[in-house]
């Protein structure tokens, strides 16, 4: 029976993932990678187990995120088992003749020793090594008779200052998560009061009766809604519009394929347009935030909307070419019945005000995460959303993103990300080639993995290239992160690439080949378009 076979291979995949993940977690404990701090080794273990579990879906992806936060708190936080009561081991330097100082050989790290400031902090200084032996004789003006140096340069506190566990826990309430929560609240209320459906019916009216324009309308509406709601819910909702149409079309008419494909594509693309459109955007924004770079809601839209519109147009043209409809006209039956209860009206007002404030952040300066609290507060205070609605929010998505942000923190501050990228001499590569590499890797990975997971694994690498200054001239942290983020959202080759793709596939109206065809066009031309924007347009906005 096929079902049994599938169960069997699922189980094999789980076991392989479990074994690989645990091996990956343990490797850094038994091997010493030169140039990587002790904490970096632990972070590498966490990175490997998370990457494997996310790739093999050994655990649900949000549980892997929870595991990541747990491991970080246990191993890498000030309060954790490794660092809770450690101090730097110290030893005084011993005066030798001729202004030389004797230090233990273990204290020497290349040509550096570390002067102890307090139990956890030190200052590295360069010394001139004069004589090797049991103890090393060095020369330096920074050393004096009362200097205490770190006696073990491999100690776990060297190269890493443990941070409080609240930094890891706190990712779940970081501004970007609150921004998403605001988006979830708006989306959930819109579904509850059918705002999404009614808007769709109103917005579709001007697109007339010609099949290709109906599809264009569907795509624009889908993209608009999915810029604010989850791509999945938007796709499902639009399918309830598209299915009755598809059912009335002749089986052989390619309009059916065009219709069914257009919705997931538009939903995937629409997610790019706003910070809250889809979780990979959150990963990009959170990583940039940690480097002190803030992207306002409106600036994000200004950066991404041209790309999203370009890709929508591209997809539409490509589908017209591959699946020309034979039907000449089709009469849509669109009836919008906006609810007029006071709660529904409160929702309409809150929705409008929130979106307006988000888009005008540049003029009033209120951060978008604070604005996101307006719908959270008003819609619950006025009982537009009740306890059950709050419980039904997609909390697991927030956990997934929080785990991703948390992992990024440790990849950065243990030096792991830097160590990973520094093995390749990136400065030999022209900027454009570097962006292309990141874009293509992101595109490939996220066709098979969750888009969020791909962003989680790749964005910290880009960030550390920026902070380490190893990326060569003209490197822009923002642009590189944006290219990765948008490439993650362009992955729509296969039914498994995104939930909207899976929904469209399940209708039975399209074949995998159809999806691959359009997905390839979007992926390849999409990356090219992103690179063009990254070269000519994005720098203008970022200034």
């Amino acid at each position: 029976m096929p079902l049994k076979k599938r169960n069997h291979s699922e189980r094999t995949k789980k076991i392989v993932g479990l074994a690989l993940g645990i091996t990956g977690f343990l490797i850094p404990w038994f091997m010493n990678f030169p140039g990587l701090s002790f904490a970096g080794h632990m972070a590498l273990g966490i990175f490997l187990i998370a990457a494997v579990f996310w790739m093999f879906e050994t655990l649900p992806i949000y549980s892997t995120s929870m595991l990541v936060i747990f491991l970080q708190v246990a191993l890498l936080s000030q309060q954790g088992v490794v660092y809770s009561d450690t101090a730097l081991p110290k030893t005084p330097v011993v005066s030798h003749i001729d202004g030389l100082w004797e230090v233990p050989s273990e204290a020497l790290d290349g040509n550096k020793v570390y002067i102890v400031e307090d139990s956890r902090n030190y200052t590295p200084i360069e010394v001139h090594v004069v004589e090797w032996g049991e103890t090393v004789k060095v020369q330096s003006d920074d050393l004096s008779a009362d200097t205490q140096i770190v006696s073990d340069a491999q100690h776990k506190l060297v190269g890493y200052t443990p941070i409080s566990f609240s930094n890891f826990f706190g990712t779940l309430a970081s501004p970007i998560i609150i921004l998403f929560l605001g988006g979830f609240i708006l989306a959930s209320a819109s579904v509850k009061y059918n705002l999404d459906k009614n808007l769709t019916n109103v917005l579709l009216k001007p697109f007339g009766e010609k099949p290709v324009f109906i599809v264009m309308g569907l795509m624009l509406v889908t993209a608009t809604l999915s810029a604010f709601m989850s791509n999945t819910a938007t796709t499902a909702m639009m399918m309830t519009v598209a299915i009755p149409i598809a059912r009335q079309i002749d089986m052989k008419d390619k309009f059916r394929i065009m219709l069914t494909l257009s919705i997931p594509i538009a939903a995937n693309i629409g997610g790019m347009a706003t910070p809250i459109g889809t979780p990979p955007n959150a990963i990009v924004i959170a990583n940039l935030n940690q480097q002190g770079i803030n992207i306002a809601f409106g600036s994000w839209v200004a950066l991404m909307l041209p790309l999203a519109l370009g890709l929508l147009l591209l997809a539409w043209v490509a589908m017209r070419f591959f699946y020309p409809p034979t039907l000449k006209r089709f009469q849509l039956e669109l009836q919008s019945k906006f609810e007029k209860s006071s709660k529904a009206i409160i929702l309409y007002a809150v929705f409008a005000i929130t979106v307006l404030l988000w888009f005008t952040e540049a003029s009033h300066g209120i951060p978008s995460a604070m604005i996101a609290f307006i719908p959270i507060v008003t819609l619950t205070v006025t009982s537009v959303l009740g306890k059950d609605d709050i419980r039904a929010l997609p909390w697991e998505v927030l956990w997934l993103v929080a785990g991703g942000i948390s992992l990024g923190i440790s990849m950065e501050n243990t030096g792991l990300a830097m160590w990973l990228v520094s093995s390749i001499s990136w400065d030999m590569l022209p900027q454009l080639a570097l962006l292309l590499v990141f874009g293509l890797v992101a595109l490939m990975l996220s066709n098979f993995l969750s888009n969020t997971v791909t962003a989680t694994l790749l964005v910290p690498l880009a960030v550390s290239m920026g902070t380490a200054g190893i990326a060569g001239e003209g490197f822009s942290l923002i642009i590189t992160s944006l290219v990765i983020g948008s490439a993650c959202n362009m992955a729509m080759l296969l039914p498994i690439s995104t939930p909207p793709n899976a929904i469209a596939m399940s209708t039975g109206y399209i074949k995998t080949g159809d999806m691959v065809k359009i997905g390839l066009v979007i992926g390849l031309i999409g990356i090219t378009t992103a690179l063009i924007l990254a070269t000519f347009y994005w720098p203008l906005i970022i200034q």
């Binding site: 959930s188 579904v191 999404d196 989850s230 499902a236 309830t240 009755p244 399940s506 209708t507 039975g508």
Partner: protein, 162 residues
């Protein structure tokens, strides 16, 4: 992942054949099992339960040798394993009293009068199974192509995830 079964209980082999033929479209995802009497049905339910599968729909004749169809359905309603199973009575001979009892005590979902129109039977089965999977299943996508697409998409929309 467990399978969701359709079970048909009917004493006349010819009628059973017709039901099978009419419902063949569903077999791709919902395996169909047959029983010729209430006793056989009980065995069948036990077997399906032991193998860790579920029963989504029971189509049941009323007048059979041994226990009547309605008695079987009431039993199924009391058993937690089959409580959520959608129950359809397919009969030509159930009187008013039996029917009332079935609706009240077996939470009968549908009543199909013999002889039935095959298209109508398929529609009823489709609708009942759609209700069942929306209520009982988490991953709905594998059912979409066979069942009521719009209702399933609507369920995904309100749940917000696949």
């Amino acid at each position: 992942m467990s399978d969701i079964y359709i079970i048909c209980v009917e004493d006349e082999p010819q009628v059973l054949d017709v039901i099978i033929r009419d419902l063949a479209v569903f077999e791709e995802i919902f395996p169909i099992e047959l029983a010729h009497s209430a006793d056989e049905a009980r065995e069948l339910i036990k077997e399906i339960k032991q193998e860790g599968h579920k029963i989504g729909l029971a189509l049941c004749d009323h007048i059979m040798p041994g226990d009547k169809g309605i008695d079987l359905m009431i039993e199924m309603q009391k058993d937690p394993f089959t409580e959520k199973t959608r129950k359809v009575l397919v009969t030509g001979q159930a009187g008013l009293e039996d029917t009332i009892e079935a609706v009240n005590n077996a939470k009968l979902n549908r009543y199909i009068a013999k002889p039935w129109n095959p298209r109508e039977l398929v529609e009823v089965v489709k609708e009942e199974l759609t209700q069942y999977v929306i209520q009982e299943e988490k991953e709905l996508l594998r059912f979409t192509s066979l069942l009521d697409q719009e209702k399933i998409q609507e369920a995904i929309r309100t749940k917000g995830y696949v």
